[in-house]
């Protein structure tokens, strides 16, 4: 832990805060009926995206999932444009054409969220192949869930990356559920990282609520990938604090799928609290300084909401734009 500098630690914390406050705001807006479509929040999983992306350069690539807001922010995305996208506005990342599950920011190497479970995995392999082909030392990361690890695309992609020794880092965010199905029911194994062995690839398990731990594991994987050592599968054990999608409670109409002891265990492992404690204990910053940071983040999120609200709807002419080049 001592290797990580204070500035990195604070950076990790701040990125996590941005995600948390952004997502909380999104949850509230959804409840108020202000956001169209489906919304899947990253609350509880912040340490994964942030820990990994902090180990990346601006020109590295990531691909993401249906639960992708956190990845965009972790990679350094613009919350104004993201919020506007969630509102379906013309000033959004995708001009209102993508929405929550299809946000991309190619300028920061964020090659897209994806509504298809597992759909982003092969795309990251292609980005890794491209980096290797072009002789850069860029790496490509793909985020995906425990549920996605049962898709054929996972298998084919990891094997392909391993055989071609590509600079790809596969980050499985194991939050214990694919929608309402527990991971332990959807697979007969405890650790998804063990699947790395099936591809002759490095595999590692990390506590996904501990941003520093994730960061250090990611740094190692990134170094190996840059050096031509090939791909790594990182399994980050994490949890989502909320439901699979916003509005879930009403949708499930009283049906329950999570155990009370599980909810209690995860409440005790909030990634922001863990990091907060670490920072204060190591005197990297004071509680007060962190609260100030938090307030600034909240202000930024609020102004993102204003930006989104005040942005125009896309106009009809845009319907036939962004088609064939």
């Amino acid at each position: 832990m001592t290797e990580v500098s204070a500035s990195v630690v604070l950076d990790l914390y701040q990125r996590m805060l941005r995600i948390r406050r952004f997502e909380e705001a999104v949850g509230g807006l959804f409840k108020q009926g202000q956001l169209p479509g489906f919304v899947h929040l990253y609350v509880g999983e912040e340490a994964v995206g942030v820990g990994v992306c902090a180990a990346l350069r601006a020109d590295d690539y990531i691909t993401s999932t249906h639960r992708g807001h956190g990845h965009v922010i972790a990679k350094g995305g613009d919350i104004n444009r993201m919020m506007a996208e969630l509102f379906g506005k013309a000033s959004g990342y995708c001009k209102g054409k993508g929405g929550s599950m299809h946000i991309a920011d190619f300028s920061i190497g964020m090659l897209g969220a994806c509504g298809i479970v597992g759909g982003g995995i092969p795309v990251a392999v292609g980005a890794g192949l491209s980096a290797k082909y072009r002789g850069t030392d860029q790496v490509a990361v793909c985020f995906f869930g425990d549920g996605a690890a049962n898709e054929g695309s996972f298998h084919e992609s990891l094997n392909l990356a391993a055989t071609l020794t590509l600079p790809v880092i596969f980050v499985c965010e194991n939050n214990g559920y694919g929608e309402f199905t527990p991971a332990r029911q959807a697979m007969n194994i405890e650790n998804i990282a063990d699947r790395a062995a099936a591809y002759g690839m490095f595999g590692v398990i990390v506590d996904g609520t501990d941003a520093l731990a994730v960061y250090m594991v990611a740094v190692e994987a990134v170094e190996r990938a840059r050096a031509g050592g090939g791909p790594t599968l990182i399994e980050a054990k994490t949890h989502r604090k909320g439901g699979h999608a916003e509005g879930e409670d009403a949708f499930l109409a009283g049906q329950k799928y999570r155990l009370p002891e599980e909810l209690a265990a995860m409440a005790a492992k909030d990634p922001l609290e863990i990091m907060h404690r670490y920072i204060v204990e190591h005197a990297i910053a004071s509680s007060g300084q962190l609260e100030e940071m938090d307030n600034a983040v909240v202000r930024a999120v609020n102004s993102a909401i204003d930006f989104a609200r005040n942005s125009p709807e896309p106009d009809y002419a845009s319907l036939y734009e962004d088609t064939w080049v």
Binding site: P36, F38, G99, S100, H102, G115, I116, T181, Q255
Partner: protein, 322 residues
Amino acid sequence: MPRKTYIQAIQEALAEEMRRDERVLLMGEDVRLGVFAGTRGLHAEFGDRRVIDTPISELAVAGAGVGAAATGLRPVVDLMFGTFLYLAFDQIANQAGAMRYMFGGQATLPLVYMTQNGAGSSAGHHHSQSVHQFFMNMPLIKVVLPSTPYDVKGLLKAAIRDDNPVVFLNSLALGGKRGEVPDEEYTIPLGVADVKRAGADVTICTVGATVYTSLAAAEELAKEGISAEVIDLRTLSPWDKDAVLASVKKTGRFVAVDESFPTCSAASEWAATVAEHAFGDLKAAVQRVNNEDVPMPFSPKLEKAVLPTTEKIVAAVKRTFA
């Protein structure tokens, strides 16, 4: 008659057929709790054995349906959203849709793939596509897309009893739609269209959610003295050519309305068939109303603009009078 929602009608159809026939089972992602609410409540009644939650593995689950159907069961495989069938396309096309013929009649595959079709949740392109045209193209697969609670119940029950593979599409936009559904047992034969509104001047042929858009258009047109007949095909493969051709014989005008990408669509098929077999009856060029030819945008404003609308249908009908 009691009024029920489209989703309730699906639940009833599944429950009744599972009660009726021990060989019927349900499998898919989260069918117990019902991410697609049509499967909700079945686990409580039928338990783990007959209501099987699977991993997120569309290809294997679709293929497991084939193996189960080939060996004596009558599986209903829930694949949630139409686009997820893209991952299962190989097993549906090359196995379910081909085995019986390829093996010289040895295989019988009483198998239903159930999923939601079309747009309606403003969730972006990956959750807003129509897929019926792909499966209509495959020779041995039946395709159903009902528009009312009454139809969805009767057709789903018939699909489950059918000995052929059926892609059973629920219209995503219609889940909450209410309509009369009798408590008594009934089925609706696959392949038979339903005239949802009789008319004399123009035939509007459609299916699924655009039945309502077409009915609204017919209402508008009536105000202008144009009497439109709205045919709801209900089953897309095999489809009721006779009903459509008979209607065109009467009206002399034809408009195909189909929520999907335009090219090689169901509307293309209907329009081509009418042009081929009812040319002599036609007083004007056939017309098509499809989605605009772009992926589905997220913005609700743009989504609405992409879909067939009452205005577009009215305009298409008027072109047949120009």
